[in-house]
């Protein structure tokens, strides 16, 4: 059991133009643990994980203050190498979004854009990451088929494999099961639990059961504030803040 802090967020404020989306957020993301972010729509949880890989930069007028320390550096600094950052902190999106390329190419893409030309290494990596993502047995005979021919759950696992291939250390999941059926969801959850042995994982979810099933820590956010953060067990059994309790019991959200 390691208790190493992977990402340390201190006094983080975030604005979309004049609108403040995150208010003075302080949170520690632990390595080899799963942290769930919950809260009603618009509470800022998706914004928060998009800060970790600086995808928030894509929105015009976005501005962040405070510090987010990862690997000893404040990733909010403009001097940070975003390419390296995004390789170390991978992301899996709400809707499976494989490229309209073959299964093989989907995983090779991340390696190739970094200038990797070693064919045998790429081949090795494709197999390794597909195995890690529990997809190898499903696709090993059709690596050169289009990734769009896979089922939703398989596509999502391919997207996870794609993030693993570029040597991610942290994986951000933005409602990864929102568009999947219960069986595929169960498989993804199983995979996430397995991945936590080697990665720090942050998962945004609207599904309370999912948060309680998979996560070690849970953060409850509301209107840009981090209301409560603690072990999942504590949050779900004895929440300290009345707002958290109201949300968990379905009084709003």
């Amino acid at each position: 059991m390691s208790d190493e802090i992977k990402i340390k967020v201190s006094n983080l404020n975030f604005y979309y133009g004049k609108m403040q989306a995150l208010k003075n957020i302080n949170i520690d993301i632990m390595d080899k643990k799963i942290t769930a972010l919950i809260g009603p729509s618009g509470c800022g949880k998706s914004t928060l994980i998009r800060i970790f890989n600086r995808m928030c930069d894509l929105v015009i007028g976005a501005k962040a203050e405070g510090s987010v320390i990862f690997d000893g550096e404040n990733i909010l600094n403009s001097s940070i190498d975003i390419v390296k950052l995004r390789q170390k902190i991978g992301m899996v999106f709400q809707k499976p979004n494989p490229f309209p390329k073959t299964i093989f190419q989907n995983i090779a893409y991340g390696l190739e854009i970094n200038g990797c030309k070693d064919k045998s290494f790429i081949k090795f990596k494709v197999e390794e990451t597909l195995k890690k993502a529990a997809l190898w047995e499903d696709v090993k005979d059709r690596l050169n088929d289009s990734a769009l021919g896979l089922s939703g759950g398989q596509q999502q696992r391919l997207c996870i494999a794609r993030a693993l291939a570029v040597e991610a250390q942290v994986i951000l999941f933005d409602e990864p099961c929102a568009s999947l059926d219960p069986i595929s969801t169960a498989k993804i959850e199983e995979l996430i639990l397995e991945l936590q042995n080697n990665y720090a994982i942050i998962i945004v979810t609207h599904n309370m059961q999912q948060a309680s099933r998979v996560s070690d820590y849970t953060a409850f956010m509301y209107l840009g504030d981090l209301i409560e953060f603690g072990s999942t067990n504590q949050i779900f059994t004895v929440p300290k803040n009345p707002k958290t309790e109201e949300y968990l019991s379905g009084k709003f959200g």
């Binding site: 890989n53 995808m55 490229f99 309209p100 991340g110 769009l148």
Partner: protein, 283 residues
Amino acid sequence: MKNKIIQQFFFSLITISALITALFLLIIIFFIFKNGFNAISWEFITSVPKNGMTAGGVSPAIIGSFCLVAAAILFSLPLGLACAVYLQEYSPKNYIVDIVKTGVSNLASVPSVVFGLFGLAVFVKFFGFGVSILSGGLTLAILVLPNIITTSQEALSAVPYSFREASLALGATQWQTIRKVVLPAALPGILTGIILSIGRAAGETAPIMFTAAVFYKKGRPDSIMSEVMALPYHIYALMTEGVNPEKQTVIAYGCALILLVLVAVLSSLAVFIRNKYRSSYER
């Protein structure tokens, strides 16, 4: 009951209107075939005009049209694609974009004869390219540019945002994302635009009248500075000049048939590619 009858009446009206529209096309095709079919032969396609345009074939016009279209696409594709990528992927939201967009859509509605005069003034005279494939190709390129830009832009915008997001999240730069993910995904749509532009460029008379086409030229063009014969202009010339209208008319219909078949083949190719493209995204 009354409402139902009114509905029936208007639906019939709409159906008849639609049928009449389709009928025009059928009539045109029928007449071109009827009048032009007899002119078509192997000799017609492969040999040069003889006896003052009253006999022989139209091969220089086919070759000339081919050269003009190739030049037009060669010039317009890189420029149009770059413009589409700028508008769709890079452009900041400011007034320059609005100016470019307005410019592109207005360019599309400029009458083609105006392009011809423009080509004459700028390419033929000002740049001194003379009446040549180069001048005609450039003029046609400007004519089809809005086509290329609009279809390319549509193709780019049809590429789901999630592909871009996925690529950027893996650490790709915006340029890598455009080149390796967005453009390949948009390629079938871009191809459609190119093919439709080929059809348009092949069929236009006015833009090449003063810039590239001549009534008669023996043999193949030897450089892009050569003047050429072209199918649409050849039809125009056969119907307005010469001494033997009866024989010339038949040849003109033959040319029209070749042109029609050419454009029809290209258009159906475009539709085929677009359909294939659509089905690959709909899941």
